[in-house]
């Protein structure tokens, strides 16, 4: 129920509290114990709230407020439970009595069969109290009967068995056991929260959608994982080493220089990766650069241009979203735009409508359409093109360099710092601006030719 977050975030604090609880058991330095009288039975190991508080203050040497907070936590999570007011999970600082919870019922992350156990507990309580359950317990009972109906015969069977087995314990122990179990479930099962109707309806819709989702057999997805691992094994610097050398080991940064974002001539392994799948090509700025050369020859350079503009909109400065979206519209989407992209009517309609209220994902539909177009149409031809093959032939195969063992062990190594990211970014922006200025696509050329021919056709006066 309300307990899920505790296990996930508080592993360290639970160990701390457990250690504290163990310290409280010390016969010399622990908390003073009293006997609890229940009718004619005496049950040992009862302590007062004020004693608990004082012990925490003295042993941790903290202020009263902090100690009280800690004490409340300890009771809230069920390490200690109140004897007189079981539902009041706070530490009262008077002579109210408390007892330690048995370690089995300490909070723990791995409690898988919660529902089954709770059902057994409620059935047992039904037997003991001859059907008298609290209202919220009755609700839980009925809900569980529906939820885990197929287990119900076992639930009844086990409840009866646990009840009968209890009779083998002595009376005082049986009483203490009952208190323990009751305390545990008061911590773990709060009264059934009434879900408002609209959240219930939303949940139903959500689950209906989830049911309709297409699923993949684990054999298929695992097969994909294996295939991926096999394909990329040679490219993994940790698994297969890297050439010329691992900079972390040899202090030689050549590897990083050879693989810089927009290096003049890339390495062979990098260019080969572009042929693995379209995503690998698009992830690599150098790959996109080479791909763009090819696309221009095919007169579809605007596609990649548009895709990159969308990426900039998504991941760039969000304060400029409105201006960027307008520019992209003027350049790529408007009728007669200089670099007009060819997308279907529906997608165009959705995109134009979305642009009225621009945000970073407003162009997602169009971007996906263009991405799939490039992937299915241009990518295959690109890999067979002279442009790609030339790049592959030019690509560098670095030689392995041997670790230079320094003759003088304390020689100060020349460490060159890499260029500042600020400077790198400026260079990138300048390169982009230069490219944008020189971008001439077929539509521009065609429109120029059109105008010239129109001029020619005007009858001379």
């Amino acid at each position: 129920g309300s307990f899920a977050h505790w296990g996930q975030s508080a592993r360290g604090s639970s160990m701390f509290i457990e250690a504290l609880i163990m310290e409280m058991q010390n016969p010399e330095t622990g908390i003073k114990m009293h006997t609890q009288r229940v009718m004619i039975t005496n049950i040992p190991h009862a302590m007062t709230g004020s004693d608990i508080l004082q012990w925490i203050i003295q042993h941790l040497k903290i202020a009263e407020e902090e100690a009280l907070n800690l004490g409340n936590l300890i009771v809230k999570y069920g390490y200690i439970y109140p004897l007189q007011e079981p539902k009041n999970l706070t530490l009262k600082t008077d002579s109210s009595l408390y007892r330690f919870q048995t370690p089995y019922f300490w909070p723990t992350q791995q409690w898988a069969e919660d529902d089954t156990d709770y059902a057994i507990y409620l059935a047992k309580k039904n037997i003991k109290r001859k059907g008298i359950l609290e209202e919220y317990e009755k609700e839980h009972y009925n809900l569980l009967n529906k939820k885990i109906n197929y287990k119900w015969d076992f639930v009844i069977m086990q409840a009866k068995e646990q009840y009968r087995t209890g009779k083998e314990r002595k009376k005082a122990d049986r009483y203490a056991l009952d208190c323990q179990e009751k305390a545990y479930w008061l911590v773990h099962r709060t009264p059934v929260s009434r879900t408002p109707l609209y959240t219930a309806v939303k949940s139903i819709i959500y689950y209906q959608q989830v049911l309709m989702k297409s699923t993949v057999k684990s054999s298929v997805s695992l097969g994909g994982l294996v295939k991926y691992s096999e394909q990329f094994l040679s490219n993994d610097p940790i698994m297969s080493g890297c050439l010329p050398s691992n900079p972390w080991i040899t202090d030689d940064t050549e590897f990083w220089e050879l693989n810089a974002k927009l290096v003049e001539i890339p390495t062979r392994m990098r260019v080969e990766r572009w042929a693995f799948n379209f995503n690998e090509l698009m992830r690599d700025p150098k790959g996109r650069q080479n791909f763009q050369l090819f696309l221009k020859k095919e007169f579809s350079g605007e596609n990649l241009g548009f895709w990159e503009a969308c990426e900039d909109l998504k991941y760039g400065d969000q304060s400029k979203v409105k201006e960027k979206a307008e520019e992209i519209y003027k350049l790529f989407l408007a009728p007669g735009a200089r670099r007009w992209i060819n997308i279907d009517g529906t997608t165009m309609g959705v995109t134009v409508r979305g642009l009225k209220h621009p945000h970073r994902y407003v162009l997602d539909a169009a971007q996906t359409h263009i991405y799939m177009l490039m992937k299915k149409d241009s990518y295959g031809r690109y890999l067979k093109s002279p442009i790609y093959k030339e790049m592959l032939a030019k690509a560098i195969l670095p030689q392995e360099t041997v670790k230079k063992s320094s003759s003088f062990p304390f020689a100060r190594r020349q460490l060159r710092s890499s260029p500042s990211p600020v400077i790198l970014r400026q260079q990138e922006e300048e390169a982009k601006a230069k490219e944008a200025a020189t971008n001439v696509d077929i539509t521009q050329v065609m429109s120029k030719l059109d105008r010239r021919s129109q001029l020619k056709q005007e009858p001379p006066k």
């Binding site: 190991h45 009972y141 009866k160 646990q162 087995t165 314990r169």
Partner: protein, 237 residues
Amino acid sequence: MVKEECKALLDALSRVTACYRHMVLTIGGTSDSQNLREELKKTRQKAQELAVANRNKLTAVLKDKAVSKEDKAEFERLWVIFSTCMEILEIDMRRALELGQEFPLNVPRKHLIQTGMSGGTSGVAARAMSVQNMKYEAEHNIDVVDLKDLENEINQVGEMMYEMEMKVNVPQWTVEAKQDPGAELKSTISVGASSIGMISVEENKSFCDISKVLAGIIFSAVLIVAIVLAVCVVKLS
């Protein structure tokens, strides 16, 4: 006939599981002891024997093509009860391992938690093992030595449950419970228990109670007669 055998085996497993749960609840508390650790060991081993017996019987029956449709549905219902019982047992075994590691018995600086418990669990163990009295013969360091065995047994149980899931194709959610909500209120006296051990334990207890009541009656009768006689003596003298 087979149905009765299966039900009896399942009842026995359920009984032992309930007893095991009682014992695991006691680890780390003031009723924890070397004897408890031995009881835990013997009980879980008994549980595993019963589990194997249940599995063998039920898988044989579920594979039998000659079984009628109604019988098959009934055996599938028993199968679901069986696998749910195994789930509970596995969880308790894991819990026993965690707690056993956290609460070694012979470390002076590690104290048991004062849980208000003071009595032992030998009655529970006797019920699980279907004996009159438990015999204790373990070494003094069983609390540490047994943990390795427990770990292995947890793995075995896990493997067994995995195999069960793979080999027997019973969709759990298609089974409908025979018992309605609140069925537990109808009878709390032992139903369907066919194990001799359990019946004898119950009889034993009621016999002891009856003899105690008889003795009380006789004693008070004698006391009344003595008082009457004394009064008569005083009056007559």
